[in-house]
């Protein structure tokens, strides 16, 4: 049976070529650390990654999701920082890596961890209740400027992305809002539908169900270009039909990274393994479906591109938060 053995050797050779002999691989289950509560955007992303890697056999070891959302996610950051050189856990990070150290003086800097890859950018949209008459951003901001008591703007948490964006809008329009910090984006969404707030700046995924049900109106997206997805979502409208805020005369741009970080001081071949893993992950249909369903902007950014971006993004947050007075002073 020379043929079969030849085939065997050939394939074995091919395998060897594909994976260098001493490449590092996880030797025990890998922990996906979520810096937010159950059911939130980070948790959903973790479950997607878990499912995609498991279904496509991208890794031999299983993955476990561990929720460390205590103290608005600070728990996860401290946990990752203390896990130096541990190659079996990574965190799904978002802008909290810049905001928490500034607003709550959490002893953390993203340079304490090892950046691996950015897998997506999350968008922000200005949403209003469909029962309210505002057909354009201008109508809404004009009404907000004239309103006493001020319009209520709902969002997730205090002195973080939604709050920063609200301050940014106030700065550009001159309108003042009473910002209401809720525990989650889902809560901010139902509070808008219930008429308890006038608007929110939720991510597309946080408001999509209410949008599909025709309960809220998507006024504009805070990005340089429109969202690319053209499949109809809400009635005749697709994500692509939502204008950018700049088109609507409100020049505010803000997006949020969804990036993977390993603990600090891991060996270089560990980082290589995970970069490779995520490279395979973004090819899976699970990942692509997830991006479209949540209206996320798919990217794959790693290495120097990523660190350059993180530096620039950190500067932007520092500037916005200082202007808004969100930076904690020593007391």
């Amino acid at each position: 049976m020379p043929k079969i053995s030849q085939l065997f050797y050939a394939s074995a050779l091919a395998l060897c070529a594909a994976t260098p002999a001493l490449a590092w691989e996880p030797t025990k289950p890998v922990e996906i650390v979520v810096a937010a509560g159950a059911g939130g955007a980070s948790d959903q992303m973790a479950r997607m990654i878990q499912a995609a890697i498991q279904k496509n056999n991208l890794m031999k070891q299983p993955m476990v999701v561990s929720l460390k959302g205590g103290a608005s996610g600070a728990e996860a950051l401290i946990y990752m920082k203390s896990g130096e050189a541990d190659a079996h856990k990574f965190v799904i990070a978002y802008s909290l890596i810049y905001t928490l150290p500034l607003s709550a003086k959490i002893p953390f800097n993203w340079r304490d961890l090892t950046p691996v890859a950015i897998l997506a950018f999350d968008q922000f949209i200005l949403w209003t209740n469909a029962k309210d008459p505002y057909k354009s951003v201008k109508e809404f901001t004009d009404a907000a400027k004239a309103a006493t008591p001020p319009f209520k703007m709902g969002g997730t948490g205090s002195k973080r992305e939604d709050h920063i964006l609200t301050a940014f809008i106030e700065k550009r329009t001159g309108a003042k809002f009473a910002y209401l910090p809720y525990k989650s984006g889902g809560e901010a969404a139902t509070q808008l539908v219930g008429g308890h707030t006038a608007a929110n700046v939720n991510n597309p995924s946080e408001n999509v169900e209410e949008w599909r049900a025709g309960q809220v109106r998507a006024q504009c997206v805070f990005d340089a270009e429109r969202i690319s997805y053209k499949v109809k979502v809400s009635g005749d409208l697709s994500w692509n039909d939502v204008p950018t805020c700049k088109e609507q005369g409100l020049d505010v741009q803000y997006t949020m990274l969804r990036g993977m970080f390993l603990p600090g001081k891991v060996a270089p071949d560990v980082t290589t393994f995970y970069v490779d893993l995520f490279k395979k992950l973004v090819q899976t249909t699970e990942y692509k479906d997830y991006m479209e369903k949540q209206a996320l902007k798919p990217v794959f950014m790693t290495g120097k591109d990523m660190t350059d971006f993180l530096q620039k993004d950190e500067e932007l947050h520092k500037q916005l938060m200082t202007e808004a007075g969100f930076v904690a002073t020593t007391n």
């Binding site: 509560g37 159950a38 059911g39 948790d43 959903q44 479950r47 997607m48 878990q50 499912a51 498991q54 279904k55 299983p62 476990v64 999701v65 561990s66 205590g70 103290a71 608005s72 600070a74 728990e75 401290i78 203390s82 607003s103 709550a104 003086k105 959490i106 008591p149 209520k152 948490g157 205090s158 002195k159 973080r160 709050h163 009473a178 910002y179 209401l180 910090p181 809720y182 525990k183 889902g186 809560e187 969404a189 139902t190 509070q191 539908v193 219930g194 008429g195 308890h196 999509v208 169900e209 209410e210 599909r212 049900a213 309960q215 969100f326 904690a328």
Partner: protein, 503 residues
Amino acid sequence: MEALGLLMLGFKALMTWKILALMLVGLVLGIFVGVLPGLGGPNGVAILLPLTFSMDPTSAIVMLSCLYWGALFGGAITSILFNIPGEAWSVATTFDGYPMAQQGRAAEALTAAFTSSFIGSLIAVMMITFLAPRIADFALKFGPPEFFAVYLLTFCSFVGLGKEARQKIVISMALGLLLAGVGMDTVSGQLRLTFGFTELLRGVNFLVAVIGLFGISEILVTMEERLALQGHPASLSFKVVWQVWKTLPRYWVTLLRSSAIGCWLGITPGGAIAASFMGYNLAKRFDKNPESFGTGRIEGVFAPETAAHAAGTSALLPMLALGIPGSGTAAILLGGLMVWGLNPGPLLFVEHKEFVWGTIASMYLGNVIGLIIVMCTVPFFAAVLRVPFSAVAPMIVVSCAIGAYAIQNAMFDVWLMLGFGVLGYVFKKLDYPLAPLTLALVLGSRAEDAFRLSMIGAGGDLRVFWSNWLVGSIATLALVLLFWPVIGMAIERATSTFSSKTA
């Protein structure tokens, strides 16, 4: 009767051997995790979730929600036998359930708990079946002032209807509120009371506190008082079951009242935990002999268990219809829904009829099968109390420690639990009530957030709590309950002077 037709559709989706088998697996695992304190429903569901990724959504939700029912049933077992509540809503069950077990009436208490949980869930499921679409609208009416009014109502019912000295209730509650303040403050985005310790960032976990306050402190007290005790004689026969069932119709008012409270608080997003306490307090309030509560009254088991399960069941409704989880377990189920490709929200009921009605039908079936299974275990669990205390106690301490650790995978929580054990011991020695502390710990930060959001929205105007009929009536009811002893006295005096005048 469109609902009935849809329900039949749901039942049809369930009637396969595969789904029935999954149901059984879920229930048995659920009872198992429910019995281990701290492990509980949320952890069980989280552990099983990855197994469901390759299942179809209906099978997956049936298995996981049956695990949830199982855990709800199982939670009552440790509350009654060892005074260790496994979930927030089992706390009130310990008040009379544990004294009953100590008197050798464990089988009776367990039967009462299981039966009333069954009745509570059944009434809640029936409500879901017929009112589902309209309830979503009701839940949307709740803004920050309404939420605060509900929490206020719970706190006030404790102070106004408690049987202990009022000062002691208030002191215990204040201590709970203080502990609830530890960690990140959502409204200001600042850390509070952490004193620079990273372990305190998470705040004080409610279950860790409860396991210590009730479980460990009970062991300390027992060690001091009755170390020689050789277990309780517990009847092993099924006769007890029939005896309890025979007396059921007598308590129909309690059962109905608690179901109504449970359904109402369950559909109020986040209100489920308060239900068991309110059910218990109101049963005590309306009883002819309120002093005897806490000494082993069977109503003291019926009332909180019915309310807790009605609430626990109806809490799934805001999750499905609004995407807002009413409990920890519901939050993890929510994550599961997304993985299975379903989006909880207003359109779920329209677009995934088979899934929604399959879930509702599984609530009926799961409860019936669950009841049968747990009833068979009553003699077994009641017999656990025959084991000498000196053999059981170390096992309880170990399982408490495992439970406290497993909640957040933190060793610090084990020390914290032991600290709470000592605190609970001191409270018992000084005759301070533990329940207000636990209630304040679990609802304190929510009440605070709701109050501050109301104030931000209203520009600091307290009249916002009387700005519409819904919030106004809840807030007024809260104040009435708070001043109930004074009002009760005034009414008594008024009627006595009135009757003396007419006489």
